[in-house]
């Protein structure tokens, strides 16, 4: 089995009290190879973040199935879910919001380590190494999220996601809140980590230009459906759908 993630016929409907239900995700299927970098792009409201949150089991799927390394996690709960989270991690959009304001970055990074049986000292050592891996000094372990910049905080969030050595990292607009130069640095870091560790990335993004050099494959979503799929160059140069063309034109 070479697929780390298989998503089939995923569906999510948000019911509203005033007005018709919103079909956020409709019949979305795709798969992700081990070590592959796949981007899901689309405008706001296209359902890409909903897909990511369903895969991460932060949101209940209404229909469809999610297979993580051949294991069905669509309904996973408790121990099984905790097990799944050792293979799958997530980096959130707003780095400052993804760390508890009352805990240091080190606390946040070592939380998963101590939950999986590492002693305090082991966890502290590993945290130091993870910070170094992500280009941060060990003094950052003692800083609070509001004391560091967005880019530094997002590096720490990547360090946290890597702490239990997952095989799949979901990056939900992980670079959107950062400015352009920091974006490039974070992407560099992600690239380097991918080459060292063979992690698969699911990269949720609205900026097609950003994923062009970064990803192996691109999925374009519109109104909850997949409208196009292919390598970045294919999608950009020979887009079949009017929507994809619009998306590309809006960047260029």
């Amino acid at each position: 089995m070479n697929e780390i993630l298989q998503v089939a016929h995923l569906k999510k409907v948000f019911s509203r009290q005033d007005g018709p239900d919103i079909i956020a995700v409709d019949d979305v299927s795709f798969s992700l190879q081990k070590g592959e970098k796949l981007a899901i792009i689309g405008e706001s409201g296209s359902g890409k973040t909903t897909v990511a949150r369903m895969i991460a089991r932060l949101l209940e799927a209404d229909a469809g199935s999610i297979m993580l390394d051949g294991e069905d996690i669509t309904q996973a709960k408790g121990t099984k879910l905790k097990q799944a989270y050792t293979r799958m991690q997530m980096v959130f959009q707003n780095p400052q919001d993804s760390f508890d304001p009352r805990c240091t970055l080190g606390d946040g990074i070592s939380e998963s380590l101590s939950n999986h049986g590492k002693s305090k000292k082991q966890a502290a050592d590993m945290t130091k190494n993870l910070l170094a891996l992500c280009g941060l000094g060990e003094e950052f372990a003692h800083r609070y999220p509001h004391e560091v910049s967005g880019g530094q905080c997002q590096r720490a969030a990547i360090a946290r996601a890597l702490a239990i050595e997952p095989e799949l990292v979901i990056l939900d607009e992980a670079t959107s809140a950062l400015d352009v130069t920091v974006q490039a640095e974070v992407l560099d870091l992600l690239n380097r980590l991918q080459q060292d560790r063979g992690i698969a990335y699911l990269f949720i993004c609205h900026d097609i230009a950003l994923v062009q050099d970064f990803c192996d494959r691109v999925i374009v979503m519109h109104n909850g459906r997949i409208v196009e799929e292919g390598t970045p160059d294919d999608v950009i140069n020979n887009s079949q759908q009017a929507y994809t063309k619009k998306l590309i034109d809006s960047v260029l």
Binding site: L58, D97, C103, G108, E111, A157
Partner: protein, 285 residues
């Protein structure tokens, strides 16, 4: 650049320092009150229960600084001894409703569904009654005594904390760091202990501090109405009620416990206000 920033920082520092001094001052006063009430039996000049029929309703003098009541008991000793009942009952009450109410609120927010609905409708029921009237009814059913008065007031005051903790926890649940904690494999218990409680404790603590004064008055109120502490026990509310018909002739016996209530309520209220200002993020950094 530095010229533009420097004055703001200095103003904020001055404000922060002043707040800190205020906090220490009122904090020290409150601690003093609590410590004094704890050691009240050693601070009383006379036995607060000792009656001296030869010296009833005496005016304040060098021997009896606050005079004596109609049984010739030294008022100063009774006021000091009363602090133990009043202050300790209040702290016990506020501590209990804070912990209990917040736990209910966190459970509601976490469990959702029917647990949430059931507990919140229950708290609506308690909130629908006018507070002190309901406490009166509870105390009347349970009978007098300090413990029953505490219980009656706890029954009407926990919903406020449950609602506060619930809304704070719900607001917190959408924060990404809660999801990150879940993905880190933390158990619900650990998430609540490590992430929820530290983040919601600020507003709850402020509410509790501001409630100390109110609760002290309500406890004294219940005692005044005869539903709190039973007579020979010195308690400020019941002391005032005991002696209220002496107000025109021997005002000191009523005013002494009244002033004690006033003073302690004021200290705790000012402390609460200062804590609130101090924890206000606008005064931070």
């Amino acid at each position: 650049m530095s010229q533009a920033i420097a004055p703001t920082i200095r103003v904020q520092n001055v404000r922060q320092n002043r707040l800190q001094r205020k906090l220490y001052f009122f904090g020290a006063l409150a601690v003093l009150l609590i410590v004094a009430s704890f050691f009240s039996e050693y601070l009383c000049p006379y036995d607060p229960y000792m009656q001296d029929m030869s010296l009833t309703k005496a005016a304040p003098s060098a021997e009896h600084l606050l005079g004596t009541d109609r049984y010739g008991r030294d008022m100063l000793s009774r006021v000091i001894a009363g602090s133990k009942t009043s202050i300790f009952s209040t702290l016990l009450l506020v501590g209990f409703i804070t912990v209990f109410g917040s736990l209910i609120g966190i459970i509601c927010a976490w469990a959702g569904k029917w647990v949430d609905t059931l507990l919140m409708r229950l708290s609506d029921m308690f909130l629908a009654f006018p507070g002190l009237v309901f406490a009166l009814a509870v105390a009347a059913v349970l009978g007098g005594g300090v413990h029953n008065a505490i219980f009656a007031l706890a029954a009407i005051s926990w919903p406020k904390y449950a609602r506060l903790a619930r809304s704070q926890t719900l607001a917190l649940q959408s924060a990404a760091f809660m999801q990150a904690a879940q993905m880190a494999g933390s158990s619900t218990f650990k998430i609540i202990r490590k992430h929820v409680i530290p983040n919601i404790s600020g507003p709850i603590l402020v509410t509790a501090m501001l409630d100390i004064g109110t609760m002290m008055m309500e406890l004294a109120g219940l005692s005044f109405l005869g539903l709190g502490a039973k007579p020979p026990i010195p308690e400020w509310g019941s002391m005032m009620s005991d002696t209220r018909n002496l107000l025109p002739t021997q005002p000191w016996v009523t005013l002494a416990p009244g002033f004690a209530i006033f003073l302690s309520v004021m200290v705790f209220n000012l402390l609460g206000d200062t804590v609130r200002d101090y924890l206000d993020p606008k005064n931070r950094r």
